[in-house]
Amino acid sequence: MRDRFHDPERVRQLAARIGRRMTRGWRIMEVCGGQTHAIVRYGIDELIPAELELIHGPGCPVCVTPIELIDRACELACTPGVRVCSFGDMLRVPGSSGDLHSARARGGRVQIVYSPLDALAVARAQPDTQIVFFAVGFETTAPATALSVARARAEGLRNFSLLVAHVRVPPALEALLDAPEAQVDGFLAAGHVCSVMGLDEYAPLCERYHVPIVATGFTPVDLLEGLLACVDQLEVGRAEVVNQYARAVASSGNRSALELIRQVFQVEDRCWRGLGSIRSSGLALRAEFAEFDAEHRFALGVPQPLPASRCWSARVLRGEVKPTACPEFGRACQPLHPLGAPMVSDEGACAAYYRYRAPGAVEASAVDG
């Protein structure tokens, strides 16, 4: 495969340009599991100068879903007459006493779907079963979820509801910048989140914290262009929003999608696994849609106290350590028996390092692959 976004010569040129541009070290964080995987897969971090450190932020919505919500989904799956639908990634994320996969093994009803609209189709086909869509995702996924519930209401479907775990990216960036240990000089913003949301939310962050933010795509060339746009600004003391991914990102986002998101959801504080409560970082159904909220529709139990864990995922999700620094990485914690969510999800940082950096891992390089 050779195209301009994977062209080894162009990759080398961009990496060299970043090196020539740098007069000191910088730390740039990406907040997108897809970008984390691409960086590790293609060895982008090994092509650039060692003084440019790439920090993997909390870019995997599955990984930051609170244990309490996983427990609620498991409880719902084991409730007679209820079927929980969600994305495949969610099945193996550990709750306090098991995951959705084990709930299914105990007789719970769990179905993997590709789209919330597929869950809606299940609800139409099974009118006597309560279908709960466990809605997880960043802003990229919120339009699909909003559409499913808007259509359920329009169709008068009484057996469809949502367990909402949607989170918003900009408040998480703000929380990371507010943390006393924050050492992030610039951000690569997740391209597809920006396809939906546009860039408006980032300018105030650039101004207030004096960090450049570059909306970036997912190929080696995209990522290096994003890093170069960040480094260029850092070296001259600028802090602005730049759109590297203009082919899929309009600065105003997708207006129709934004309008429906605002009709269906309201912003609320949300707890992120590993980061704690973050102000205005979650989406919840508005009062007009309360009848479609599974937490209202079903009497759910009180969350259980959490068991102690050897998992370092909180430190990984905050970007404090690389996954390989964890003593359990690749030993007690592997994709088939994970201690924490980042080893489970296809986009978790631990899974990326396990897949591409563990002994015997898949080899792929941006310059000779």
Partner: protein, 96 residues
């Protein structure tokens, strides 16, 4: 999670409802066809390329990048067994 894949609108689904939220089409993803919601790309018509996430088109790709999108998608399908985000590439970014 935020994986989004480009595809070309083949046709509007004939049994779509009348409301804008029910607007759907058949999308060709390099040979694989799937029904996708077009609720959020009201201006898109058959022949256009859209970026699809979780069964929903979230953005229309600019027309001048369409041909490159298609080539890249075909390259991905032929040359790379792993479905990664790089299959979403189209291409209008200027040289940095």
């Amino acid at each position: 999670m935020c994986l989004a894949v480009p595809g070309r609108i083949e046709e509007f689904a004939s049994d779509s409802g009348a409301s804008p939220l029910e607007r759907e089409g058949v999308i060709d993803f390099g040979g694989v066809r799937r029904r996708v919601s077009l609720a959020f790309v009201p201006e898109a018509v058959p022949g256009d390329y859209v970026l699809v996430h979780a069964g929903v088109a979230i953005q229309r790709l600019s027309p001048d990048s369409a041909a490159q999108t298609w080539q890249l998608l075909e390259a991905e399908v032929e040359g790379d067994s792993a479905p990664h985000e790089d299959s979403t590439k189209s291409g209008t970014v200027d040289d940095a």
